[in-house]
């Protein structure tokens, strides 16, 4: 039962946090801030009437669409920028300027361009997750050790084989790191985007619960659910790191 022993300290911390939370709410006789029990009850209420699943589904759909598009765009572009020096020199400054702009700052422009439907948050998620993935993919190609490229040159393989069997797999661990970062950012951004212009999703659920009658139990429930789903998404990305052909990068 090794995992129990490993998980035990963090479970204790969680229990302490929940207990403190409960104690503070009880001692201050707060009428508006919920106890953990009220949060659980609120969550069950939303789960039973189905709105919780709709909100989760809406948020996940937007993340999948925006992140998926970003992957399709960033990986080929990053590989190209990593391999072709001219492409890197030409495009990198542009991306370095765009990268520090918070996706939240794009919200007005997203609404202007894409309106208040699904396209706006998908665009914001794309913008948020595409840059870390471009940067990591490019770095992945740049840091391929010369001895491997030399060996490929020695065997005189075709460009296609060089790319498929050397460059791409060599960069793959860093690409996966980029995807982990990208998906993490995407999940942060979807909530923010939904708070502003939409009528579904976990972000909307939080804002709506506050506006419609100060249901802070549902606000906190929404926050905790966002945290748990974010954890699960990262866990899924970490499974990619366990693929046998990328383990070499992580085992040392």
């Amino acid at each position: 039962m090794k995992w129990v022993r490993q998980a035990l300290p963090s479970l204790v911390v969680l229990a302490v946090v929940v207990t403190l939370w409960w104690a503070v709410v009880a001692l201050t006789h707060s009428v508006i801030f919920p106890t953990p029990l009220q949060v659980v009850q609120g969550t069950l209420e939303l789960a039973r009437d189905g709105t919780l699943w709709e909100h989760i589904g809406a948020s996940l759909f937007r993340v999948a669409a925006g992140f998926g598009l970003a992957v399709l765009f960033a990986i080929p572009l990053g590989l190209w920028m990593g391999w072709v020096h001219g492409a890197f020199v030409t495009l990198n400054p542009l991306f370095q300027i765009l990268r520090p702009i918070s996706p939240i700052a794009w919200i007005p422009i997203a609404i202007l361009w894409f309106g208040v439907g699904n396209a706006s948050p998908i665009y914001l998620i794309f913008i948020a997750s595409v840059f870390p993935m471009i940067v990591q993919t490019t770095a992945g190609v740049h840091t391929i050790e010369k001895r491997y490229l030399r060996a490929a040159e020695n065997f005189g393989v075709t460009r296609q084989k060089l790319f498929l069997q050397v460059v791409f797999p060599a960069a793959l661990p860093q690409i996966i790191t980029g995807m982990r970062i990208g998906l993490g950012v995407a999940w942060l951004v979807v909530v923010a985007a939904e708070m502003i212009a939409l009528h579904s999703g976990l972000g909307y659920m939080i804002i709506d619960s506050r506006n419609a009658g100060n249901r802070y139990d549902l606000v906190v429930a929404g926050m905790i659910i966002i945290g748990l789903i974010g954890l699960a998404l990262d866990g899924i990305m970490r499974l990619l790191e366990n693929m046998k052909n990328v383990r070499w990068r992580y085992v040392h």
Binding site: R150, A151, E153, F155, G156, Q165, V166, P169, K244, W248
Partner: protein, 252 residues
Amino acid sequence: MFIKTKIEVKNVRKSFPSDQGRLDVIADLDFKVGDGEFVAIVGPSGCGKTTLMNIIGGFLAADSGGVHVDGALREGPNRKGVLITQQGSVFPWLTVRQNLLFGLDEQNPERESLAQQYAELVGLQGFENNYPHELSGGMLKRCEIARALVVKPEILYMDEPFSALDALMSLRMQNELLRILARERHTVMLITHDVEEAIHLADRILVLSPRPARIQASFDVPFPHPRRVSSPEAQALRVAILKELGVELAAA
């Protein structure tokens, strides 16, 4: 006995830019390697051995002079001569089998059986589907040798191939290499700082001078295989070579 010349190094010079102007690494090197001959090059560390190997292997251009293989000027690396280095370059993202297949043409109908045959030759049967990080240092070296041999090169360029292994494994690999070379004769150029290794393996030993490197002395190794490096003749040769390298030992 007349031996056909396989490799001819003609007036090779190489210098690198440094803070104090040009740093001459190789000054006017001139020597020949016969077909099927095993030539070891020993020299003090930092004398430009690796630079020389990279020039001979075609990975680096000489400032002047050139390297002729089978009478033709070498212009780049190809699989006629495969380089094996201290760090190794077995692709960590490919299995042993995939590494062995890497240098073989996709159209070659015998590629699978060749890969199998060479995995067996170096004693890696049963590990074909393992990834390099699952292998020991010695097995990794075997894999690299097999990957080089499977493309049927005429020349092996070995740059401190066994230096990263412990002393025992290094000796084992030397014996292994001799066993393989007895089965299929290749021309071999070995760079090493280990004089005993050179005596154990080579037909001829060239001693390089400190930078800028030139041939300081040449020794034939007339002993038949299997050799006993502890024999008085071999030890006398070792003392003579070490003396050239500036290390005085009492003769046995």
